[in-house]
């Protein structure tokens, strides 16, 4: 295990001089580029868009957020689902009075969210459909094809077509499933679990996949641009599972990138190259190249800033945005 990268050591290349700090001043929940503007969503309720700050949930906190190219979707402890545009204008899409929004995901102009045992989906026309699950949904993700949602919950995942009047199809696996992700080609569904493991299903035949060995829970996933790799948080390195062939990672060892003595809390694959940005609990950020595991330092560790809680690349792969639980943030512009 290597120590904290030392920027003074000659063999270690640093990009820190290309990082501009941003004052988030609050727990960064989510980072994204929307209309090319860097966006930080803060748990206390504010959204930082470039130079401006807006608070669409007013005095309420934001619990969950997701972005697409054009908009920022947030779910708050005021029960509101709000879309905010890069201009700062916002629109309330739904209001679940008196409830907390527990999970949220977007795809195209559709958004889905969960509160209590109810999952709702709103299509681009504004039509909202809801379904009540047997156990509380924890994670949500749209499948890439069609208007269909994967719902992670206790005992497995459910696949729900909001526009079809039929019960959700279940893929069962014992235990509590937390977050859900689907490979970009839709071939694999992967969940993180309460007991520090990942579970996967091959969509075609629902074959199970177990991915274990984590010392803590995985709470961040990132697929490579070609969809062949899945980077995950939860260990003292980014654990990257191979999904090239039809069996996914079964029988194969994952790659471990950026091994340090602090746990990985956030991962973000570059949108065009096999390079992954890795954020740690001590707020260090590294960039690792896949082919030779070469590491570049983006941010030095600073425990007082809290763990890296969100990262995002811009579409061109030129800028990397990151933020911490303690309210520090920065933007790297590649030279």
């Amino acid at each position: 295990m290597s120590d904290t990268p030392n920027a003074a050591s000659p063999e270690f290349t640093s990009l820190t001089e290309h990082v501009a700090p941003l004052a988030a001043e609050g727990h960064v929940l989510h980072a994204a580029f929307v209309k090319n503007e860097p966006v930080l969503v803060l748990a206390e309720g504010e959204i930082v868009i470039g130079e401006r700050r807006v608070a669409p949930h007013r005095d309420s906190g934001i619990l969950v957020a997701a972005c697409d190219r054009d908009g920022i979707y947030t779910g708050g402890d005021d029960g509101k689902i709000i879309r905010t545009l890069a201009s700062g204008e916002s629109e309330t899409l739904a209001h679940e009075k008196g409830k907390w929004i527990d999970a949220l995901c977007v795809k195209g102009d559709a958004v889905a969210w969960a509160t209590g045992k109810t999952v709702s989906a709103r299509d681009g026309k504004g039509q909202i459909k809801s379904t009540v699950m047997a156990t509380t949904p924890q994670g949500l993700c749209f499948l890439p094809k069609g208007y269909r949602l994967v719902i992670g919950q206790y005992g497995g995942v459910a696949l729900w077509f909001p526009n079809v009047d039929a019960a959700a199809e279940k893929l069962e696996w014992k235990g509590a499933h937390i977050d859900v992700t689907v490979s970009p080609d839709g071939r694999f569904i992967v969940t993180s679990m309460q007991e520090n493991a990942l579970h996967g299903w091959r969509f075609a035949d629902k074959k199970d996949m177990r991915m274990t060995g984590y010392p803590s829970k995985t709470r961040c996933f990132s697929w490579s641009h070609d969809g062949e790799w899945l980077a995950t948080s939860g260990a003292d390195a980014a654990i990257v599972w191979p999904f090239q062939d039809k069996d996914g990672p079964m029988g194969k060892a994952p790659k471990e990138l950026g091994v340090r003595s602090s746990k990985v809390s956030s991962v973000a694959f570059h949108p065009k190259a096999l390079v992954v940005a890795i954020g740690y609990e001590d707020s260090c950020v590294l960039m690792c190249r896949f082919t030779d595991a070469a590491e570049l330092l983006v941010r030095r560790a600073s425990r007082m800033d809290g763990k890296i809680s969100a990262m995002a690349w811009d579409e061109a792969g030129r800028r990397l945005l990151f933020g911490t639980e303690g309210g520090a943030a920065g933007i790297l512009t590649l030279p």
Binding site: H27, L29, A43, E44, D59, S60, G61, L63, D77, D78, G98, K99, W100, D102, G116, K117, T135, T136, Q138, Y154, K174, G175, A176, Q194, E195, S216, K217, E325
Partner: protein
């Protein structure tokens, strides 16, 4: 002590006075802000954006054991609350009258993310002085809530006679000899007797039950089904005790509601303190034994159908 957010678990049967206590905590001037996780949304008549409803969803852990359960909803809600931790000083979890407190407590030992940020402060149970005897007959949950408690409020004492009250206390003591008992009317009590108790802090197990080490010899309270079993002895061999306690709690875990112990390990200047919920154990070496302090060991189990003789035999085999 630490910057972990303290979490108080408030249990009790419907109508015992739990909601009254909660409302007092939320409205009285004490300079502290509480985030409250309630079981039935709307029961607390207070408009507070830090009051959130929970669905009491119990997750089994993957070892297939029926006693190894956690509250999935708590993990999620507290994780979300922690993102706004500047807004409150402590958390209160209210459970329904039907809830088993064990999964709530276990959640704080089992979930690493949660235990890194929050700590269980105490389990507080409110009972109705008039109706407790009936509840103990017809509701196993009521027994669990008493056996599990660190602090018990015997409420509505104005509605029963002194003799009846003494009888209620006796019944409670049979189930749980170590909890702090308070007699109250309309849940009226100084809040520092309920909040900030540090009952799960290994370092403070003695402060909570000052007579914990006082009694000599074996001690045994019981009702027909649930009992507490305790043994006191001299020095213990850790190489024998640790495997024994691990094995014992693994096998008997479903029957054990709570366990506590202070051990004088041979050649060890510090006291070893442990506590457990079902089969989940938490233990550590704490402060040194003081000069003149008697180096003795004591273990306590509260549970159902515990085999007293087997425990005695097992514990005695660990003695130096």
């Amino acid at each position: 002590m630490s910057d972990k957010i303290p979490v108080t678990v408030l249990t009790g049967y419907l109508g015992a006075g739990k909601t009254t206590l909660l409302n007092r905590i939320l409205t009285e001037e004490h300079g502290k802000k509480y985030a409250v996780i309630v079981n039935e949304f709307g029961e607390v008549g207070i408009d507070n954006d830090l009051v959130v409803g929970a669905d009491e969803e119990v997750f089994e852990m993957n070892n297939g054991c029926i006693c190894c359960t956690v509250r999935g909803d708590l993990i999620r809600i507290i994780e979300n609350l922690m993102k706004r931790r500047g807004k409150f000083d402590a958390i209160i979890v209210e459970t329904t009258g039907l809830a088993d407190p064990a999964p709530v407590a276990q959640t704080f030992f089992v979930d690493e993310d949660l235990s890194a940020r929050s700590r269980l402060d105490a389990v507080v149970t409110v009972v109705d002085a008039k109706w407790l005897a009936d509840r103990l007959k017809d509701a196993p949950e009521a027994k669990n809530q008493i056996a599990f408690a660190d602090v018990i409020l015997i409420n509505k004492t104005d509605l029963v006679s002194e003799e009846a009250l003494a009888q209620v206390e006796k019944q409670i003591r049979a189930l749980n000899p170590y909890a702090k008992l308070h007699r109250t009317v309309k849940s009226n009590i100084e809040l520092d007797k309920v909040l900030g108790r540090n009952a799960f802090d290994l370092d403070r197990i003695l402060d909570i039950a000052p007579d914990f080490l006082d009694e000599s010899g074996a001690h045994h309270h019981h009702d027909d089904e649930m009992q507490s079993v305790s043994f006191t002895a001299g020095e213990v061999d850790p190489d024998k005790f640790m495997p024994w306690i691990n094995e014992f709690t693994q096998v008997e875990g479903p029957k054990i509601l709570r366990s506590k112990g202070i051990l004088a390990f041979k050649d060890e200047p510090r006291r070893f303190v442990f506590q457990g919920v079902h089969m989940i154990l938490d233990g550590d070496l704490q402060r040194p034994w003081r000069d003149g302090e008697k180096r003795q060991s004591k273990i306590v189990f509260i549970g159902r159908a515990l085999d007293r003789d087997a425990i005695k035999k097992g514990f005695e085999a660990c003695l130096v």
